[in-house]
Subunit: 206 residues, 3 copies
């Protein structure tokens, strides 16, 4: 019950970020709700398709669908107020990132994938929804371009969690610190403005 609530909360916050981008891009109500759904559920859906967990649990429990729809409608109606909560949203988004990445990695591991693929799928669970959101809104995924520390903490947290479980440590002992590490690192990076490296010596575009 606690896990379900946390999961739905994570989906809600991710979905709000999708809805907000849709509003800024002046999409209509369909666009706002679809971007909210895609952002909230997309990472998990890609993971479930790739590991063959079909139909995905998000399509078997209506609460997983109603949550991002609600987030979309709330954002559609009250986007100026929602937009002002950006600081709060960033914190929840970092929490969602940690939770989704670690849960995604452990699920992939449970389905028989080795540590390296499971860690990659954990990262993908964390960043996939936002990447589809950006594609649908017509922009290169933020996670690939701005040098933000977003994918890297997700990958490391996933790797730590999978390694722990692979070594036989009990799941909660592994999952909670790994998710907290991802979230904390993401928040510190945000606050201090850390950036991921950009390639050097790129000639100016012609």
């Amino acid at each position: 019950m606690l896990l379900l609530t946390l999961d739905l909360l994570g989906i809600f916050v991710f979905a709000v970020s999708g809805g907000l981008l849709a509003v800024r891009k002046r999409l209509d109500i369909v666009g706002v709700v679809v971007l909210a759904m895609v952002t909230g559920l997309g990472g998990g859906l890609i993971r479930d398709v790739l590991i063959g967990a079909l139909p995905p649990p998000a399509l078997e429990d209506w609460r997983y669908l109603v949550t991002p729809i609600l987030a979309g409608l709330v954002t559609f109606l009250w986007h100026p107020a929602v937009g002002r909560l950006e600081g709060v949203i960033n914190v929840f988004d970092a929490a969602g990132l940690g939770m989704f990445a670690v849960a995604g990695a452990l699920k992939a591991h449970e389905y028989g994938l080795g540590p390296v693929p499971a860690a990659m799928l954990g990262m993908l669970t964390g960043i996939g929804g936002g990447a589809i959101r950006d594609l649908l809104a017509g922009q290169v995924p933020v996670v690939l371009r701005d040098g933000e520390f977003y994918a890297i903490p997700a990958l490391i947290g996933s790797a730590v969690a999978v390694t722990g479980v692979h070594l036989g440590l009990p799941l909660p002992v592994v999952a909670v610190p790994a998710a907290a590490m991802t979230t904390g690192w993401r928040l510190i990076a945000l606050r201090r403005g850390w950036t991921a490296p950009l390639p050097r010596d790129v000639p100016p575009p012609t």
Copy 2:
């Protein structure tokens, strides 16, 4: 046999819309045929992947592949004539939307999904092909942005069909009126210029 013909006709018309967009975007013959295929088959393929109906029937029957390829080639060769048929195409497209959405929702329901996810997947079956078409052509999906009544009739028709079957009504009694409702609503919206709501008070882009 009637059903197969209707289905292939729907795919053909959707595929023509993909081919026409590709021509307008000045893609080459590969682009025209690929956009035709993706638009004609994309919605059904996404649905089949998500419910785990793999390999999708569209890949097991060559007629499902040859139909959109033909539509693509016809559009490539005679696009000025095809483009002038836009009024006719819109009618068939609305018919395809109703048919695909309702058939998609009922298939998802048959695969064990509850009414809410099945209705969502019905909508996705109806709008998915056009969304991938737009992404590949480098534009934000029309269905998300112009306030056109396209996704909403598809969703309502899907919901009506799934609810009916869920309540135990016989399939044809449910499917035909639900598809007709989606199609009719879409056509009326087109004729009268109805639009879906846009978010209010969005600050101008900076």
Copy 3:
């Protein structure tokens, strides 16, 4: 062992093309590595999802993940040198195209698909990774627009291979010449500047 080495080499070269595009688009290190992975593995992943070969072998063998990651990192660090190797890369890319298309078609056929769908999936295996690469980098897939002979040799090679196997010829007798044909045709087209037809009489964009 030879096959695995060839396969990994193909992935490496495709991945380098992804990394180079990411560098040119000024993505960060995450973008360079992700585009490398997506370009190297994307075509095969789409094929495996569509035929239901889940989880895909590329996620069950860590070497399939480490190879494109390495290609991404090498490109990130030494992109000026890597970029100067474009002529060499084109040759390897053509080799990868032939190999991936034919192997993809034969795998789809093995999973029970008929010759037409199997040939289409072979082409998709060859061109899919590059198409996702372009979408993520914010451009219309090159394979759809520049009239380059890329998809067409892949499709013909796939069709030849599937037809041969369908007629009962032994696999190597079929696969090697089919892949060589695709690769050779692609290279000749590159050298001679052959182009695929563009639609005629397209009115200028308004």
